[in-house]
């Protein structure tokens, strides 16, 4: 194969170019299966546990379902219409708004989000495996830390090797895994209710609830919205392989939004029933089902995590392929390594720091993704309606999305407006809030104000030509 042919093949496979119609073969069922199996991983238990700090079971279920659906709707409407239409990823889809260089901001967010979540999953995987080993008497308690690191290293290596096959490896995460995950989730809920009793579950009090009911409820909603906003990079990476926006929208809304909410209920219930577990299935599952029932379920959760890690790293590698100066110079295996190596470092050396600050990480996701979505929503529904595919992929002075040196300054201003709005309403570090946070959340006003300020600036302050393509 010549250099030239190799380049074109890679441009297609690695997402530098829009996916050819013939390569967009995922059916609605496949898309739904991938969405469910990717979204349901250990993080949902942790999210449920985080909500359980503020809410009782009934409030938690309502807040998580509503927050999750609202949260997924925002990035789906912001990014899916263009990514699913043209077969492009989320970072490329940001170019009409942020500019050809400004869209790298989306890549930075993608990297932080994917590496952060993948690290959370890998840490769990290591911890779960070592605890299974200890509970089965396969390794001593003093060896648990070494086993954990070894498992993390093996996982990272496994993801990297599997991804050498490119997009093909992502389709491994399919419908069967999704169905199994949903059945197992129902089984775990049954075990929890059967083990602790519904009355006890309904009567359980959240451990860190504030005196303000509204604050607790809104914070539960906010956390679920934040985690679903973080699907922004994944949505583009997945739907670019599907057959058009209409066939991809519901798999994303229900496959991700509803699954995340539904399975998060397990973490909520488990934490309320076994407060010491903090939603960690290694703690409550072994207690509920014993080693014989609990270990197979845990092993399956570990397997499901592997699929999610795979897709996350794939999305990262496709995203980094949007850095035009790296195209053709960065081998696929190096791109995937750049996505998975930081996960190994964080999981091995900063596990406690990350695990101890999950709510802060969630708030950071809301803080950053909310204004990005707001800008894209305004651009799609209020201003441009239709972007230029040529402008997205051909860069340089004179091209439609070059703006000022490749950056749209008005989008940056709108971004700052969105971030400032969020921080005014909710401090992501301390979770201290300002009115009207308890009535409107921090994410929704951030989406709204960033979008409106972007629309106003582009309509009345930007050169008219900036909206012509």
């Amino acid at each position: 194969m010549s250099d030239f042919t190799t380049y074109v093949t890679r441009a297609n496979d690695e997402g530098w170019w829009p996916a050819a119609p013939g390569d967009r073969i995922w059916s609605t069922t496949t898309m739904f299966g991938v969405a469910v199996s990717v979204s349901v991983a250990t993080w949902v238990f942790i999210i449920g546990a985080t909500a359980a700090a503020y809410l009782n079971f009934t409030q938690g279920v309502v807040a998580m379902l509503a927050g999750s659906m609202l949260g997924i709707l925002i990035p789906v409407l912001a990014v899916l219409p263009i990514t699913a239409k043209y077969g492009i990823d989320s970072v490329a889809a940001l170019r009409p708004q942020m500019g050809t260089r400004g869209a790298y901001f989306g890549l930075i967010l993608l990297a932080l989000s994917v590496i952060g979540w993948n690290s959370v999953l890998t840490i769990f995987l290591g911890q779960a495996s070592s605890q299974i080993g200890v509970s089965l008497g396969l390794v001593g308690a003093d060896q648990a830390a070494s086993v954990q690191i070894a498992v993390i290293a093996a996982t990272v290596l496994g993801v990297w090797i599997t991804l050498a096959r490119g997009a093909q490896s992502v389709s491994m995460v399919g419908t069967l895994v999704a169905l199994s995950v949903l059945v197992l989730s129902a089984l775990i809920i049954f075990l929890i209710i059967n083990g602790f009793g519904l009355d006890k579950l309904l009567a359980a009090k959240p451990a860190y609830a504030s005196e303000s009911h509204r604050y607790n409820f809104t914070t539960g909603v906010e956390l679920l919205m934040a985690i679903n906003l973080a699907w922004w990079p994944y949505i583009g990476g997945l739907v670019r392989l599907g057959n058009g926006p209409r066939r991809s929208m519901w798999p994303m809304i229900l496959g991700i939004g509803l699954s995340v909410a539904g399975v998060s209920v397990i973490g909520l219930a488990a934490t309320l029933a076994v407060p010491d577990s903090a939603g960690d299935p290694t703690k409550f599952l072994l207690q509920l089902a014993g080693p014989i029932g609990g270990v197979p379920i845990l092993l399956f959760i570990i397997l499901a995590n592997f699929g999610t890690l795979l897709v996350g790293t794939y999305v990262f590698a496709v995203g980094i392929g949007q850095v035009t100066s790296l195209q053709g110079k960065l081998p696929w295996n190096v791109a995937t390594l750049l996505g998975i190596l930081p996960v190994f470092i964080v999981s091995t050396f900063f596990a406690e720091q990350l695990y101890g600050h999950i709510p802060v990480f969630l708030a950071f996701l809301g803080l950053t993704f909310a204004p990005v979505c707001g800008i894209q929503l305004a651009d799609t529904f209020l201003l441009r309606r239709k972007a230029s595919l040529t402008g997205i992929f051909v860069h340089g002075p004179g091209t439609p999305y070059h703006y000022v040196g490749g950056v749209n300054p008005f989008a940056l201003v709108a971004l700052v407006v969105g971030v400032a709005t969020y921080m005014f309403l909710l401090d992501p570090l301390t979770f201290a809030s300002s009115t009207p946070y308890e009535y409107v959340t921090a994410t929704l006003p951030s989406v709204l104000l960033s979008g409106l300020s972007y629309a106003a600036l582009m309509k009345w302050a930007a050169p008219k030509s900036w909206l012509e393509s």
Partner: protein, 77 residues
Amino acid sequence: MSKQFAPAESASSANTATPRGHASDYDNELASLLAERIRLVESGVSEDTALRARDYILAILVAGVLPLIALVIGGMQ
């Protein structure tokens, strides 16, 4: 932006990826292939698979309005 924009024409100045060490013929060839891909993708966009107003309305209703109602009721409890 007064310059008339055409994908293949602007390719020489465009920042399409360029493997190191190749001549500009190579760049032009790649740019014309990219333009060809863009035409292929744009011509493959079907109205049958596009989102229509009712798709948006249904999505906003199911994932937007209903959750908001649930939140208002839940928040008042």
